[in-house]
Amino acid sequence: MIHSMSTTTISDILTPPVHPTGLNGEEQMDTAFDDIKGTVGTQTVDDPKMSAHGVDVFYGDKQAIFDVSLDIGNNEVIAMIGPSGCGKSTFLRCLNRMNDTIPTCRVSGSMSLDGQDLYDPSLDPVLLRARVGMVFQKPNPFAKSIYDNVAYGPRIHGLAGNRAELDDIVTESLKRAGLFDEVKDRLDSPGTGLSGGQQQRLCIARTIAVSPEVILMDEPCSALDPIATARIEELIDELRQNYAIAIVTHSMQQAARVSQRTAYFHLGKLVEVDDTNSVFTNPQHELTENYITGRFG
């Protein structure tokens, strides 16, 4: 159900209009969902770093992602938004083949990094994951010291020639994640002993320490205060100069602040994707509009 509507301004979004049909949200959602024929907006970019085409994902018999096609451009931050359980994490995990670790999970369709097929049998997922890093929804520090948590990636990839170089990488990564000042006196204490928000930043530092080309961030700021969030958003902006970034977030403001493009997922389908600005000011699909105006989801 594509709106042939003229213009929507931010103030319209903030004062949601009364829905003309008077149906309750649930029924609306169903009727609208039946109408999701394809994705609204521009799925491709001129200079894609990664691209997905016709991706379906199943957990056992249950389908979690339906025919999603989406590009992630170089030097671009793409935000993925949508109601809980709509498949954002699932889609993200396909991009570095983390779904391989879930025995029931099956992926079909094509995905590529720099034009190379991700699910090609000759591709080594270990090498892929070194290039496509991931920050998980739930912080998952290792049972090691803070230092060793960050040094883990550089060590296994041999990124540092000596201890001093490793120290530099660790310090630099912690600083960029905005954690260094809080932990500089206790780098030897366990990473699992940090607070939830500190753990989240530790996991971000750990990911950027191996300098991946693409970073997938699954709600990286869900446990952070506004100051730490601002620091991470700055980091994302900084990283964009060299990398491609996909970020899942439940904060519309955050998506608007950090991303160039925004993708709206709904019940496993990609409903709409376009420039962040136009998605937020002029959503083309009724579901997208309902979501960003806070009518449901």
Binding site: M98, T101, V126, K138, N140, F142, K144, Y152, P190, T192
Partner: protein, 462 residues
């Protein structure tokens, strides 16, 4: 009524009291505006009445049984013939015993000795009157207790607190039984050991390097004064345990890693129980295996490559013991490795590490406290193991670190010291208790150290 019948009656009364109390609580609740007005639930009231019925009755039964023998012997004392009492107390009790035996079947009419028959009859009469009195008393107390509690049932009655208190008391006493038993064992071993150390110098025992516990049986024998230096036994135990751990830790740990990280669910479901069967094989069977298969094979192999391996060797015993304790290491390690959250592995994979890097550098360090626990459990099992070493390691108390020679262990010596006909207060038999005490202390220290290490590590990584 016999005591067991009496117990059954008390229990039945308690059950009836429970139902009566519960019904009464319901009734009280009904009169005063519903179940919610009661302080305690009807079931608590019922339980309280039952406890009041049962516990005093039990106390009376136990108390009665404790004082009954003394009471009866005091009552029948005048029936013991004067010529027996004149010969002293020892004689009286002998005579009493004899009569007790005659009266055991409840009928002494066929006893010819006049005095004995009279005493027997008195005993029987006393017994039965005591029994009747006890029965009446117990039933009266049970009913009285129940009635007392029954009448106390009221809206504000705090029956729940009494019942919770009783439950708590029950739990505390169960826990104390285990602790008290341990304490009893330790104390009995300690006292026997002290008797041993009155005969043999403690320092000599713990530092002596020669063990030959044969003491002279006759005073005129020479050359066998016995020497009790426990060092060779402890080195034997340590040598064999070390060999066992050298076998069990690598194999157990690696099979745990395979099962937890690499095996498909089907393989795991078959292989894990199979491995655990190893723990169910009786140790005596391992003993055969060590003595009849492994030790000769090792000797032959030794001959082939020009080594002299004695037919009973620490190596054979240690290796077989190692196989026996593999499941302790593998099963516990498997559990803790499986318990490491998948998210931690995901974190490692997402940084581009391989499966073996993830296992070695993330999973094992996270699971280490549990693994150490498993290894220490296996170690104390190895130190205490007896059967395999009895059959395969020999009896010779050699002080050696060479695993190809025969050695003996603390447990083997305890067995040989105590088997056969022994005088129970010779230094030789008492030495067994001293050895047991030392072994106990060693394993205790090991466990305390292990707990400390594991706890330090836990604090760090949780």
């Amino acid at each position: 009524m016999s005591t067991s019948q009496l117990l059954i009656i008390a229990l039945v009364l308690a059950a009836l009291a429970f139902f009566a109390g519960r019904a009464r609580a319901w009734a009280v609740a009904g009169e005063s505006g519903g179940i919610r007005s009661l302080h305690s639930l009807p079931i608590h009231h019922g339980a309280m009445v039952a406890l009041w019925c049962l516990l005093p009755a039990l106390v009376v039964i136990v108390g009665w049984k404790l004082i009954e023998p003394a009471y009866i012997s005091a009552v029948v004392a005048d029936t013991v013939p004067a010529e027996v009492s004149a010969k002293g107390r020892q004689n009286v009790s002998l005579y009493r015993n004899e009569v007790e035996n005659l009266a055991a079947d409840g009928d002494v009419s066929d006893v010819t000795d006049e005095g004995k028959r009279l005493l027997g009859e008195r005993l029987i009469a006393q017994r039965s009157s005591s029994r009747i009195a006890l029965s009446l008393l117990v039933i009266a107390i049970a009913l009285g207790g129940a009635a007392f509690a029954y009448r106390k049932i009221a809206v504000p009655m705090r029956a729940r607190h009494s019942v919770e208190g009783a439950v708590r008391f029950l739990l505390v006493s169960s826990a104390s039984i285990a602790i008290l038993t341990t304490l009893g064992i330790v104390l009995s071993v300690l006292f026997e050991s002290m008797r041993f150390f009155q005969q043999v110098n403690f320092v000599e025992f713990v530092t002596g390097t020669s063990w030959s516990p044969q003491t002279a049986i006759r005073a005129d024998q020479i050359g066998s004064s016995g020497s009790f230096g426990a060092i060779p036994l402890f080195t034997g135990t340590l040598l064999i345990s070390a060999i066992a751990l050298l076998v069990a830790v690598p194999f157990g740990l690696m099979s745990a890693i395979y099962l937890a990280e690499y095996a498909s669910p089907r393989v795991r479901n078959i292989a894990k129980p199979l491995l655990e069967i190893l723990a169910g094989i009786p140790t005596v069977v391992y003993g055969f295996f060590a003595a009849l298969t492994v030790a000769p094979a090792m000797r032959d192999f030794g001959q082939m490559i020009g080594l002299s391996v004695s037919s009973e060797s620490a190596l054979a015993a240690g290796m077989v013991m190692g196989i026996m304790i593999i499941p302790f290491v593998s099963s516990l390690s498997d559990d803790v490795i499986t318990a490491v959250p998948q998210a931690m592995r995901d974190g490692s994979y997402a940084l581009g590490s391989t499966q073996s890097e993830t296992v070695r550098k993330v999973v094992i360090p996270a699971a280490l406290p549990g693994i150490v626990g498993g290894v220490l459990l296996a170690a104390s099992r190895a130190i205490g193991e007896t059967m395999i070493v009895v059959m395969a390691a020999g009896l010779a108390a050699n002080l050696t670190a060479n695993p190809l020679e025969a050695v003996t262990t603390v447990t083997v010596q305890i067995v040989t010291l105590l088997t056969g006909d022994q005088e129970f207060d010779s230094a030789k038999t008492l030495a067994a208790f001293a050895l047991g005490l030392m072994l106990f202390v060693v394993t205790l220290v090991l466990n305390v150290v292990a707990l400390y290490v594991v706890r330090r590590y836990r604090e760090q990584y949780e």
